[in-house]
C-alpha cells in the first residue's frame, strides 16, 4: 500500500515528469535524425552521388558574366562560391543604401503637411509593399529587356554613359600608382574632423560659444584629398565605354539582371523602412517638441537634438531587420539569373555537381552567418540606444 503510493507520487512528481518528457523528446529527435540520415546514406550510395567537399576544387566549366574578382570557366567551384558571395554582398549593400535613401524620403514625405506629397507617399507604400517581391523583380527585368534599345541604338549621355538591353555602361575610374595618397588624405581628413569636432564641443561646454564647423569639415574631408590629388598631377583617369562591333567594351557595366534586382529590392524594402521611420517620428511625444521650443531651441536644433535621437531609437531596429530581409530576398536573383550566391552556387553548381546536401548546406551557412552578424549589430545598437535610466 505504502509502496504503491510512493510510486504513484513519484510518477506524478512534476520534476520526474519533466525529465521523462525531455528524455522522450530527445529519443524521438534522435530517432528521426538517425532514420533520416541512414536513409540519406542509403539513397546517396544507391544513386552513386559523390559526397564530401572535393567538388569544390574541380573545374567549374561555365562562364559568369558578372564578377568582381577574376573568374573564367577554368576556375574552381570554390571560386564560383566566392564570386556568388561577393555578388550577394554587392547587391545587398547597394540595395540597402538605395532602400534607406528612398525609405527616408518616403517616410518623411508621409508626414508632410503637404496633402499631395503625403498622399503620394502613402500610395507608394501601399502599392509596392503589396506586390510580392518576386513579381517586382521579374516585372522590372522584363520591362527593361523589352523597352530598352539594342547596343547599336543605345541611349547616349555625353558619349560616356550608355544604356541599352545589355545594361548600363559607365566610365570606370582607374587609379594610377600615386592615388593611394589621395585615399590617405581622405582618411586623414575624417580623423582630423573628428578631433576638431571634439575640440569645439569641449569649447562649447566650457564657454558656451558655439562654432559652426560645417565649413571646416567639408574643407578637411573633401578639400584636402582634392588638393593632394591635383598636387600629384591627377593620378587617375577614366576608362570610357565604346562601341566595338556589336557590343561595348571598356568602362564598367551594370547588367540588367543586377539593375532589376537592386531596383526591385530597394523599392520594395523602402516601403518597410519608410513605415519604420514614420512610426519612429510619430512615436516622439508632442511634449518633447513643445519643451524644446520652450527652451528656445530653433526648429533645426529641436529636430537635431530632441526629436531625431528619440525617433531613431524607435526606427532603427526595424530598419536593421529590413536590411536582413533585403539580403535574404536577394536570393530571388535565381529567377532572373544574376549570379549571386543562390543562383550561381546553389543553382548552377548544384545542377552540375548534384551534391545538394553539401552545396545547400554551405549556402544556408552563409545566410546564417550574415543573419547572425546583423543580429549582433542589432543587439549592439539596441544596447547603445536604450534609454539610460538612473
Amino acid at each position: 500500500m505504502k509502496q504503491e503510493k510512493s510510486l504513484l507520487s513519484f510518477l506524478n512528481n512534476n520534476e520526474t515528469r519533466a525529465i521523462a518528457f525531455q528524455i522522450i523528446t530527445l529519443l524521438i529527435i534522435a530517432f528521426v535524425f538517425y532514420s533520416g540520415i541512414s536513409n540519406l546514406m542509403f539513397n546517396i550510395e544507391a544513386r552513386e552521388i559523390h559526397t564530401g567537399f572535393a567538388f569544390l576544387s574541380n573545374r567549374a566549366g561555365f562562364d559568369i558574366n558578372e564578377s568582381m574578382i577574376a573568374y573564367t570557366p577554368e576556375h574552381s567551384n570554390l571560386q564560383v562560391f566566392y564570386v556568388g558571395l561577393i555578388n550577394t554582398l554587392v547587391v545587398a549593400v547597394v540595395g540597402i543604401i538605395c532602400a534607406t535613401a528612398i525609405g527616408l524620403v518616403i517616410g518623411i514625405a508621409r508626414l508632410s503637411n503637404n496633402w499631395l506629397i503625403s498622399k503620394l507617399a502613402g500610395g507608394y507604400i501601399e502599392l509596392f509593399r503589396n506586390i510580392p517581391i518576386l513579381i517586382q523583380i521579374l516585372f522590372w527585368y522584363n520591362i527593361a529587356l523589352l523597352t530598352l534599345p539594342s547596343p547599336k541604338g543605345s541611349f547616349n549621355f555625353f558619349d560616356s554613359v550608355f544604356i541599352n538591353k545589355r545594361g548600363i555602361y559607365v566610365p570606370e575610374p582607374i587609379s594610377e600608382p600615386g592615388f593611394i595618397w589621395v585615399l590617405i588624405a581622405f582618411a586623414l581628413g575624417i580623423v582630423l574632423t573628428i578631433f576638431m569636432k571634439r575640440h569645439f564641443g569641449q569649447k562649447q561646454d566650457k564657454t558656451g560659444v558655439h562654432t559652426n564647423t560645417l565649413g571646416y569639415s567639408i574643407g578637411l574631408i573633401f578639400g584636402l584629398p582634392l588638393v593632394v590629388f591635383f598636387l600629384l598631377g591627377s593620378p587617375m583617369y577614366f576608362d570610357y565605354p565604346a562601341l566595338t562591333g556589336f557590343n561595348f567594351t571598356g568602362g564598367r557595366t551594370f547588367t540588367p539582371e543586377f539593375l532589376a534586382l537592386a531596383f526591385a529590392l530597394s523599392v520594395y524594402t523602402a516601403t518597410y523602412i519608410a513605415e519604420a521611420i514614420r512610426s519612429g517620428i510619430e512615436a516622439v511625444d508632442k511634449g518633447q517638441k513643445e519643451a524644446a521650443a520652450a527652451l528656445g531651441l530653433t526648429q533645426t536644433q529641436s529636430l537635431k537634438l530632441v526629436v531625431l535621437p528619440q525617433a531613431l531609437r524607435v526606427a532603427i531596429p526595424p530598419t536593421i531587420n529590413q536590411y536582413l530581409n533585403l539580403t535574404k530576398n536577394s536570393s530571388l536573383a535565381t529567377a532572373i539569373g544574376y549570379p549571386e550566391l543562390m543562383s550561381a552556387f546553389g543553382g548552377t553548381v548544384l545542377n552540375q555537381v548534384g551534391q545538394a546536401v553539401e552545396i545547400l548546406g554551405m549556402t544556408m551557412a552563409v545566410y546564417l552567418v550574415i543573419s547572425l552578424c546583423i543580429s549582433l549589430l542589432l543587439n549592439i545598437v539596441n544596447k547603445k540606444m536604450s534609454i539610460k535610466g538612473r
Binding site: 519533466a18 518528457f21 525531455q22 523528446t25 530527445l26 529527435i29 533520416g36 536513409n39 540519406l40 542509403f42 539513397n43 546517396i44 544507391a46 508632410s112 503637411n113 503637404n114 496633402w115 499631395l116 506629397i117 503620394l120 501601399e126 502599392l127 509593399r129 503589396n130 506586390i131 510580392p132 517581391i133 518576386l134 513579381i135 521579374l138 516585372f139 522584363n142 520591362i143 523589352l146 535574404k328 530576398n329 536570393s331 530571388l332 535565381t334 529567377a335 543562390m342 546553389g346 548544384l350 545538394a356 546536401v357 545547400l360 549556402t363 544556408m364 545566410y367 546564417l368 543573419s371 547572425l372
Partner: protein
C-alpha cells in the same frame, strides 16, 4: 441721436474659406510646399497619362461578339497580330483567363474548383453570421477543420467517384490559394507548439525549439524550397518519387511555422505572470493551463500580427515558381509562349500583379481593422 442698426456680418475673405483655403493650407502653404506640389504634379503628369493610355485609352478591348439584352456588341476578337504593340492587348488575358485561374486543371472538371471558391466565399458569410451565436466557437472550429478536407478532396478527387486530378495539373490562382491556405492552416498549430516550446522551462525542448526557429528565420525561403526539392526525398526510403507539390508544401509549412511561432511568442510574453500563477493555483495542469487560460488571451492579442505574417506567406507563395510549380506567376511566361500570342508578357505581368495586389491589399486592410478592434490602449 445715433441710430444703431445691426450691420450684416462681413464675409470672410475668399482665401479663408472653402476650397481656396484648403488648397492654401494643404498644397501652397509655403514656398517649399509650392515647389513640392508642382514637382509632384509634374511627376504624376509624367507617369499617369502614359500608363492610363497603355492600360485603357489605347488598349484593345475586342473580346469578340456577344449579345446583351438582344443587342449585339463588339466585333471579331482581336488576335496577336492586329492587337497592336504600343498598348495593352486585353483579349489575350480574356482568352487565357482559364490558364491564369486553373492552370492545366482539366477543363471539364473546373466546376470542382469553382465549388471550392464558392465555399470559400460562403465561409466569410458564415463567420459573420455566427458571430453572436452561443456556440460560435464550436461551429467555427468544425468549419475550419471540415472545410479544408472537403476542399482537398474536391480539387484532388480520387474518392466518391470523383475523377482523380494529379497535383502536377493544379495551377494558376488555384495553386496559389491552395499553397497559401495549406501553409497557413498546417503551420499554425506547429507554430503554437514551437512558441510554447521556446517559452518552456524544459531545457531540451526549449533548446530545440529555439534552434529551429532561429535557423529557419535566418535563411531565405528559397534555400528551404531547394532543400525540400533536392534533399528531402533522400531522407525517405521511397526516394525521388515524391510529389512535387507536397515537397513545396512541406517547405512552406516548416518555414511559416517558425514565423508564426515568433508571433505567438510575442503574445505569450505579453500575458502577465499572474495569469500563469493563478492557473497553477487552481490546480490546472500544463495542457489545461495553456489551452484554457494562456493561449486564448495570447492568441487574441497576436491576431493582427498573425494576419500580417499570413500576408507575407501569401507573398512568398510566388516563390514556388522557381522550383517548377505552375502558379499564377508561372502562367505569365507559359501563356506568352503560346505560338498564337507570342510576346505578351507585359499584359500577363500587369494582370497577375493587379490580382495579387487586390488580394494582398484587402488582407492588409483587414489586418489594420483587426488591429484597431483588438487594441486595448486608450488612444481613441
Amino acid at each position: 441721436m445715433a441710430v444703431y442698426e445691426q450691420q450684416e456680418l462681413r464675409k470672410p475673405p475668399i482665401s479663408q474659406v472653402g476650397i481656396v483655403r484648403w488648397l492654401r493650407v494643404n498644397l501652397f502653404s509655403s514656398r517649399v510646399n509650392i515647389g513640392l506640389t508642382l514637382a509632384a504634379l509634374y511627376m504624376l503628369y509624367i507617369i499617369i497619362p502614359p500608363m492610363l493610355d497603355w492600360m485603357i485609352f489605347s488598349a484593345n478591348f475586342n473580346f469578340g461578339e456577344f449579345s446583351f439584352l438582344g443587342f449585339e456588341f463588339g466585333e471579331v476578337m482581336a488576335t496577336n497580330t492586329n492587337c497592336g504593340r504600343t498598348a495593352a492587348c486585353w483579349p489575350f488575358i480574356y482568352e487565357k483567363l482559364d490558364m491564369f485561374v486553373y492552370g492545366f486543371y482539366p477543363r471539364d472538371l473546373v466546376w470542382r474548383v469553382n465549388t471550392v471558391f464558392a465555399m470559400t466565399a460562403m465561409l466569410f458569410v458564415i463567420v459573420r453570421l455566427v458571430r453572436n451565436y452561443k456556440y460560435s466557437a464550436k461551429v467555427l472550429l468544425t468549419t475550419f477543420v471540415v472545410f479544408p478536407i472537403v476542399s482537398f478532396y474536391l480539387i484532388g478527387g480520387g474518392v466518391f467517384g470523383l475523377e482523380e486530378v494529379k497535383t502536377h495539373q493544379w495551377g494558376g490562382l488555384t495553386l496559389t490559394l491552395v499553397i497559401a491556405s495549406v501553409g497557413i492552416l498546417v503551420s499554425f498549430p506547429i507554430g503554437i507548439l514551437l512558441a510554447l516550446g521556446r517559452q518552456s522551462n524544459l531545457r531540451v525542448i526549449n533548446f530545440f525549439s529555439t534552434i529551429y526557429i532561429e535557423f529557419i528565420r535566418a535563411v531565405p525561403l528559397i534555400t528551404i524550397l531547394f532543400m525540400a526539392s533536392f534533399v528531402l526525398p533522400l531522407f525517405f526510403t521511397g526516394g525521388m518519387d515524391f510529389d512535387k507539390l507536397l515537397r513545396a508544401l512541406i517547405a512552406i509549412t516548416l518555414f511559416q511555422a517558425a514565423y508564426f511561432a515568433e508571433v505567438v511568442r510575442g503574445g505569450l510574453q505579453a500575458i502577465p505572470t499572474g495569469q500563469y500563477e493563478a492557473a497553477d493555483a487552481i490546480g490546472l495542469n500544463y495542457v489545461q493551463k495553456n489551452a484554457l487560460i494562456i493561449l486564448p488571451q495570447a492568441l487574441k492579442i497576436s491576431i493582427p500580427n498573425l494576419v500580417g505574417s499570413s500576408i507575407s506567406l501569401f507573398k512568398d507563395t510566388t516563390l514556388v515558381l522557381i522550383i517548377g510549380l505552375m502558379d499564377m506567376l508561372a502562367m505569365v511566361n507559359m501563356t506568352a509562349n503560346d505560338i498564337n500570342w507570342l510576346g505578351r508578357e507585359t499584359e500577363g505581368f500587369v494582370f497577375v500583379t493587379m490580382t495579387m495586389w487586390i488580394f494582398l491589399y484587402s488582407m492588409s486592410r483587414y489586418s489594420k481593422k483587426l488591429e484597431v478592434r483588438f487594441s486595448t490602449d486608450h488612444k481613441n
